[in-house]
């Protein structure tokens, strides 16, 4: 009838077979009658019950294990007598019967950790008793606890790294602000005349300092987003107008590189409720990236909207990327061709930061690319802000006792 037998039907032969099998399986098997008196119990389960619970067969199960009375275990047993099958997963219950762990089990558990199934048994079409199957998962539970501890430690280390980056970046940014300020002061000749060549050198120093500040800002944003400390300040924004203003920033660069910089915007506004500063930052990063890597042809910035999202697409005719490179493009500190880092500059954080910001705004940034043809970045943001639901950090390790 099905890939699962609906109910375990019991006759003397099938019961004998089950108990025979149970002797060789690493599994606890116990059956009761309608009064929950133990009818059969395999060797494995009797040994795990230990000398504290002798002679299980023939005794009422709730008398042999009085801890079960009135609790969910008794509820499950009585449910089986009414036709219900109950599954107990270790993650929720720890154990069904208070059994001793195997001699070589991890010492953090005083009781065997178990999965259990409590199943009605039928004989001649009517429910005749209950079958309890118990699986020992102590070893796995201990392994998972260790993994969770390791994960928690790794998260603490990652947090420490983010904190370090944030504070380092802050410490670096503060003196750079002063450097640029004094450059402005010197340039303005308020403290004395500056020769043309000196002015030219001052300009170069200032440009380098501003570039450094930009890199530090990227690191700061990245570490804030990683640490979940980047606040969102949403408001009604016209996505089309914002995309136009960002594109205008790159027009001088397009002219000097002799690249066509086109926009394709809807006739009316493309309104969405989002954080305009972050949206602007993403678009500057993505358009800037396209401009940086496109040596001929065009960069097109397109805005469109459907009933749920506003879409920003940046299409370039740059060198394109292989599928392997596309997979790595959003990995932090990755610039696909390291030689480009020197020729094109950048931290390799622009795109990872952009994607993280997009996700923070409830959307995503995706990329499609063909080597030799170009790359398309698509940013989709919800019309109404839906900050990405972030799972809580892993809880501190649970107490080891059960």
């Amino acid at each position: 009838m099905s890939r699962d037998e609906p109910l375990l039907s019991l006759n003397d032969e099938s019961l004998a077979l089950l108990m025979e099998l149970a002797q060789v399986l690493e599994l606890g098997v116990l059956t009761t009658d309608r009064d929950l008196v133990v009818r059969h119990c395999n060797q494995w389960l009797a040994a795990a019950a230990g000398p504290e619970v002798p002679d299980l067969v023939g005794r009422p199960l709730l008398e042999a294990f009085p801890q079960l009375s009135g609790g969910p275990a008794e509820h499950a047993l009585r449910g089986a007598l009414a036709g219900s099958t109950t599954i107990w997963a270790h993650r929720f219950h720890r154990y069904f019967l208070p059994l001793r762990p195997a001699a070589d089990a991890d010492s953090r558990f005083h009781t065997m950790q178990q999965n259990a199934r409590i199943i009605p048994l039928t004989r001649g079409g009517r429910i005749d008793g209950v079958l309890v199957l118990i699986q020992d998962v102590t070893e796995r539970a201990a392994r998972e606890d260790l993994l969770r501890d390791a994960l928690a430690r790794a998260e603490v280390a990652s947090q420490a790294k983010s904190d370090f980056l944030a504070s380092m970046s802050h410490e670096l940014r503060t003196p750079l602000g002063a450097i640029i300020g004094f450059m402005d002061l010197l340039e303005s000749e308020m403290v004395g005349p500056v020769q043309p060549l000196q002015k030219q050198y001052l300009g170069r120093v200032k440009l380098a300092a501003k570039h450094l500040i930009h890199i530090i800002e990227e690191i700061l944003t990245f570490s804030r987003v990683e640490a979940g400390k980047e606040p969102i300040q949403p408001e009604m924004v016209d996505g089309a107008a914002l995309a136009r203003s960002v594109t205008e920033l790159f027009e001088p660069q397009a002219v000097s590189k002799q690249i066509a910089l086109n926009t394709s915007l809807p006739e009316g506004p493309a309104m969405l409720f989002t954080d305009p500063t972050k949206l602007r930052q993403i678009l500057i990063n993505v358009v800037g990236n396209a401009m940086k890597f496109t040596e001929s042809g065009s960069v097109d910035v397109e805005v469109s909207a459907d009933h749920e999202r506003v879409w920003f697409r940046v299409v370039d005719t740059g060198p394109g990327m292989s599928p392997t490179d596309v997979e790595r493009i959003f990995d932090p500190f990755t610039q696909l061709d390291q030689s480009l880092t020197r020729s094109k500059g950048g931290t390799g954080l622009g795109l990872p930061v952009s994607r993280k910001l997009a996700q923070l705004l409830g959307g995503d940034l995706e990329v499609e690319s063909v080597v030799g043809e170009g790359t398309t970045f698509a940013l989709g943001l919800p019309i109404v802000a839906q900050p990405a639901a972030v799972l809580p950090p892993a809880p501190s390790p649970a107490p080891v006792a059960d």
């Binding site: 599954i87 997963a89 929720f92 892993a394």
Partner: protein, 202 residues
């Protein structure tokens, strides 16, 4: 039999009773407040369900099947997209399992128990309210495609098959997850449900 004969409002109420019981059990089990909602319900021949599910679901699915027998016979299934399943397991265990988005052994065990709670609560509500006797098989979890799911639905082979398909939403403190509850029954069982609902209303 026309599915229009089924009283949708009464059926929705039955599902709501079942899901309310399930939510209470899950809240007790996990120690957090859980609400299970029923945004939408369809009753349709099993062939139409395939088309409908193709519109609603994509990719790999995690399903918990529970066969039931008695006056009413069929296959009840909790259907979640893989990602939703791992997210639900993580939310229910406060990130204890499936944190990496994978349905490992522990996550599957958790979902099997959760499926067992939801499916038996709903089927018991049907049993209690319609005064029909239902007994349940051991639930099984599968990771499968939609085609695999539809092939595996088990009802009596010699009659027309129908599906009661309910969209469900699990609301937890840290987020919410959508899924579907599907009860595949044969014509005889659907007629029994229809009559019992009508008698109850009357």
């Amino acid at each position: 039999m026309s599915t229009h004969l089924v009283d949708h409002d009464a059926l929705t109420e039955l599902f709501n009773i079942g899901l309310h019981r399930a939510a209470a059990s899950l809240s007790e089990l996990t120690g957090q407040r859980i609400i299970v909602e029923l945004p939408r319900l369809w009753v349709c021949p099993i062939e139409d369900t395939q088309e409908r599910l193709r519109e609603l679901l994509e990719g790999e699915l995690a399903t918990v099947h529970q066969i039931f027998m008695g006056n009413m016979t069929g296959d009840a299934v909790l259907v979640l997209e893989y990602e939703s399943a791992s997210r639900l397991a993580a939310l229910l265990t406060r990130g204890d399992v499936a944190m990496d988005g994978r349905l490992d052994q522990s996550a599957r065990e958790v979902l099997t128990e959760v499926g067992n709670v939801i499916l038996s609560s709903c089927l018991s509500a049907f049993g209690d309210m319609l005064r029909v006797s239902v007994t349940f098989a051991v639930p099984r979890i599968h990771v499968e495609s939609l085609d695999g799911l539809l092939r595996s639905l088990k009802v009596k082979d010699d009659e027309m098959h129908y599906t009661l398909l309910a969209a469900t939403r699990f609301q937890l403190t840290e987020g919410e997850v959508g899924g579907y509850l599907m009860i595949a029954v044969g014509l005889t069982s659907l007629e029994l449900i229809t009559k019992a609902l009508a008698a109850r209303e009357g």
